[in-house]
Symmetry: C2
Subunit: 658 residues, 2 copies
């Protein structure tokens, strides 16, 4: 792609006033958004959408739980459930397909999405990925929903700091059993989905003790209920009760009083105890072992990012249709009242967020594909696995933040109508709120991303002098350091084609957009690496030194994810071979890129990457793009392809009369 003139001189966007043109555009954009997942998404769209639709009004907690349990059971026979497991465990090993299908559930009642994630993603995933052959027989019953389970990791005392969990799993050679125990109130497992009502078997994370030796956190299967549904002996089950949202998920608490299970209940793939009571592990280093175990569970974070993205698209669809239909105030100099979306402030609320929703959808597909490579074993390099984990952590943080912000903005953009339960926004807002916390608090996750960037930085450039660090920037996107994504070659080609910074048209060039995001990432990573290196000096208070870099770390991680996301979008635009659709997609990509740059204009100015006239030009372009895309606003959201029964746009009914 070569330099493109400013939007006003660019070829105008295809019209959508004729129904046939509109439908073609919606279909084309949808095909692009669905990408390789089109077939499984259409399968989901053909489900009994009425039965899976969210309840029309808030249900009492127990009723809601029962409803979601029944909805879950109705999904159990679907092919996409088995897709999440390998063939030798009764599945089909089509991991990407499974995650893409679950993402569609993010448009239904999010309690169903979470409940399915607990049963098949977390609980099933733990048995599948941490267990050994002796656990494989459980999986067909897990896939069918006959055996319901929990993923019991988080404790009251420790949430994010999993390595310090207090629950113990002590091997007793006398009986060849493992004794699972909660030594104090902080060891209580908390917020555990499926624990309060439905779960019968729990995958419990605990400190494994064999003989005198502590082997760190491992996972043990513990029955928590008998067939009659009563708590198993020694297990105390509590109910977390009502929550801000997700009322259909039975989160609960589990405590264990010296509960004995057979030794073989240890999910021993990464650390096992044999019949002689001897511990062994394929991974010597306990810390590496721990992080490898956690790393296998990456699918959970990826699924949360997917569901969060879906929820944001639901909200944007509702709010955009409302903004397009509802009219308020006379438009000066015009005959009719203007639609809300004709106002710049309203366009500013919704259109850049629609653009970012597109960007995140493409980034999510790329992430899911990378996950599929790793889970299927096609990619087995440890570095690739680590990069996948960092990318999953980063995209989960950025997408869930986008969702919280977007759903809020959509609610406000619908005024009082957005506050009524009768539309989808109220539940979507309450339900998604916790997404920023679960599967890892976002602030903690972004620090993980930054640390992973720094680890790569150090392993590559650890002993370089200042000049070496400066050169690091040039290499950052050159393949040594960043993940090898399909976007790589393209991006390099685009960057090479940068037309220089002398022209006002520069911001409309994809290459400029990519360069700006890359520069910010490089500078932030280099800077924090320098600061942390200084912190290693003798006499420096290590905590203070680390702590003073913490916001810098988080910013570097955000900048990294911003760059990856834009690369995914740029690649998707290039991939599109329908010229009309590609033109629209390109303009949406511009809006995403430029509003990202605008959000960080303080940084660009402060670091002399852009002058004041340039940052003002960015703002002007964002406004221009909003106006240009406004006539296509409902086209852009219809292309999300959300079944009408899952949208519930009753709020629009009385409103076009105004």
């Amino acid at each position: 792609m070569s330099a493109v003139p400013t939007t006003s001189r660019r070829p105008s966007l295809p019209g959508a006033s004729r129904p046939a043109d509109r439908a073609a555009l919606v279909d084309g954009l949808r095909a692009s958004l669905d990408a390789g997942a089109a077939e499984v998404r259409d399968e989901c769209r053909a489900l009994d959408v009425e039965a899976l639709a969210p309840a029309a009004e808030p249900l009492p907690m127990e009723e809601h739980r029962a409803r979601v349990t029944a909805q879950l059971a109705s999904l159990a026979g679907r092919s996409f459930v088995a897709d999440g497991f390998p063939e030798h465990q009764g599945g089909t090993g089509r991991y990407a397909r499974a995650v893409e299908a679950f993402e569609m559930l993010g448009h239904t009642d999010l309690s169903l999405f979470v409940k399915a994630g607990v049963q098949w993603g977390l609980f099933g995933g733990a048995v599948s990925l941490l267990g050994t052959e002796r656990h494989d027989h459980l999986l067909p019953r897990i896939i069918s929903g006959e055996l319901q389970g929990c993923f019991a990791m988080t404790e009251t005392g420790h949430g994010s700091d999993v390595q310090r969990l207090e629950t113990t799993a002590t091997y007793d050679p006398a009986t060849d059993e493992i004794v699972v125990h909660s030594p104090g109130p902080g060891a209580r497992k908390d917020y555990i989905g499926n624990a309060a009502r439905d779960g019968h078997l729990a995958a419990v994370f605990a400190q494994l003790v064999v003989g005198e030796e502590q082997h760190g956190v491992h996972c043990v299967l513990v029955p928590i209920r008998d067939d009659a549904g009563h708590p198993a002996s020694g297990v105390t089950v509590g109910d977390d009760g009502a929550k801000l949202g997700l009322g259909g998920v039975d989160n609960g608490r589990l405590s264990f009083d010296h509960v004995r299970v057979p030794r073989t209940n240890l999910l021993g793939r990464y650390g096992d105890v044999n019949e002689h009571g001897v511990y062994s592990s394929p991974i010597e280093n306990p810390s590496r072992r721990f992080f490898t175990m956690l790393g296998t569970l990456v699918r959970g974070r990826i699924s949360v990012a997917g569901g969060a993205g879906a929820a944001a698209r639901t909200a944007l669809t509702v709010a955009t249709r409302y903004g397009d239909a509802r009219r308020q105030f006379d438009a000066p100099g015009r005959d009719a009242e203007a639609a809300l979306l004709d106002y710049r402030t309203h366009q500013r609320r919704l259109l850049p967020r629609i653009a970012t929703a597109y960007a995140l959808q493409f980034a999510q597909h790329d992430l899911v594909d990378a996950m599929d490579d790793v889970l299927s074993g096609r990619v087995a390099d440890e570095g690739d696995r680590r990069r996948l984990e960092a990318r999953a952590a980063g995209l989960k943080a950025v997408t869930t933040r986008h969702t919280t912000d977007t759903v809020q903005e959509c609610r406000e953009a619908c005024g009082g109508a957005g506050y009524l339960w009768a539309n989808r926004l109220a539940a979507t807002k309450s339900d998604t709120d916790i997404f920023t916390t679960f599967e890892g608090d976002n602030t903690v996750l972004l620090q993980l991303v930054a640390k992973s960037l720094l680890a790569e930085y150090r392993s590559t450039f650890g002993d370089l002098d200042t000049l070496g660090i400066v050169r690091f920037g040039a290499r950052l996107t050159a393949g040594t350091f960043v993940e090898r994504s399909a976007a790589r070659a393209l991006v390099q080609r685009l960057v090479d084609a940068t037309p220089g910074r002398e022209d006002e048209v520069v911001f409309a060039a994809r290459a400029t957009q990519l360069s700006l995001l890359r520069e910010r990432e490089e500078h932030l990573v280099e800077g924090v690496a320098r600061r942390l290196r200084r912190a290693d000096a003798p006499g420096v208070d290590a905590f203070e030194a680390f702590n003073s870099c913490q916001d810098h770390l988080v910013e570097a991680a955000n900048a990294h994810v911003d760059r990856l996301v834009l690369e995914s979008f740029a690649t998707a635009v290039e991939r599109c071979d329908d010229p009309d659709v590609a033109r629209v997609l390109g303009r949406v990509c511009d809006l995403h890129a430029l509003s990202t740059i605008e959000r960080h204009k303080g940084w660009y100015l402060e670091h002399d990457r852009l002058g004041a006239s340039r940052t003002k030009a960015v703002t002007a372009l964002v406004n221009e793009l909003c106006a240009e895309l406004r006539p296509l606003a409902t086209v852009l959201v219809d292309a999300f392809g959300i079944p009408e029964a899952w949208l519930r746009t009753e709020m629009l009914e009385g409103d076009t009369v105004g």
Copy 2:
């Protein structure tokens, strides 16, 4: 006050490790925060706080409504209810006291706060302020709660655009009655508090028609239920049903089918119909009449700002205590795990928001005092009234935005514990969400503020040339243009004492902080005035021209409110005569001011008001202030003085064990 050195060279803050020192500091800060409202606030703190506390779990809608109705009845005899009405209507005319007391209800179940606001603020306020002597007899029954009512303004078709309401009130000379009618579905009154269950009389806003003539929107009292609670003849009552929050408020819908009421039901203070069927008004111009009528209802917006501020303080108290108690992750180089609040990212989440909560509390007091001047008649100038309305609109928008943002951040800062209904955050989040919309959508309100600024600008400088416009800046804070607040003299003194921009210490000087906020306001107001003037040129599309300035208008209004808020805080610091308390308050004010400036660093750089080294220094100072105030974090929130029963910090119970 003269220039102060950077924080590190400033006298250190008083300690709070000894219980007596801590208590003295809490008391001193509370006295400062309560200011003139200390007595009525203590009266509220001495209420039966258990009975007024929010329910421990979400209640079914009807049960919640009944509970709130009962709580409301228990408040009816309190002196602060009568305080909101003049003596000749059975009140005491202590308006500030009434609003300050309602603000305290913002710490209880917010359904109670809203329900009280509907009954006494909106419905009672309409009868009191728009009615004539013939309606005075109703007020004792409204004050006592015997007569419950609604404020029926918003329609399905028109929310913000009140002037275009569709409901009609037509005078029928044949029977000397007024016929209230909803001509279509868009005319349906919607989201009306007290309509679905409890209200018997509604203050209905409708287009008044007398003979052939339309007189614009007026307010008519219409009975909507009979004594048995059934809808009155011709009145259709609907229920808005479940909402995202505020489950205890019975919002509903009202439609009127040629409902006849006596002519004397017209609340005729600003436009009446006499026994001969002749319309008259003390205000000739219909538009001015309309805005005068709306203006009398300013108390509603002021109360919403107060309640929103209170809710943010509730959330900050819960989250700060949690962040102080909960420990996660080993602190490198230290023996113990660090408390969440020891981490910079966590300090950044909470401390600047605590500082802004202080700032908004002081601004709220000043606003309430100005309102008291107007309602009591001590100030009768129309300009002062208009300025009060603009200030109320602006502070409502800024405070409710702060609240939505702060409650969200507090929820996330408490992780999973913040999501459980058992703590106050879940309900606070759901309940306050609509505050950005009701009593005026924030985006619309900020445009009102900007238009008011521009009106003053034009009336003062309308025919000036460019030089005149430039000089406008100098006059902006010199008394011609801005409201005459108590802060004026002080601010001028501080600005005069500016030590120049040459020194790094400059940001710690209040004068610098004030100047920076003022410069931003001036520049934005001048700029938008220039742009709108150009838009007046012939051949310009008026809608496009206005629309392209819309974001600029909103930014100007925000900058205006930012400046007012900082002035209030600066004045409060000066007023404080306890040196220890003043030192703490001063530092909190610094944090508020500098984090406000930091948020707009892009603007300051883009407009060459600050260089890059200066904006970086601001960021460094914000970090330093966070670290410095961290040991006093729980002192700062305890000073909010919220009864423990209204905080419900169960979430902390299991958490200090970790």
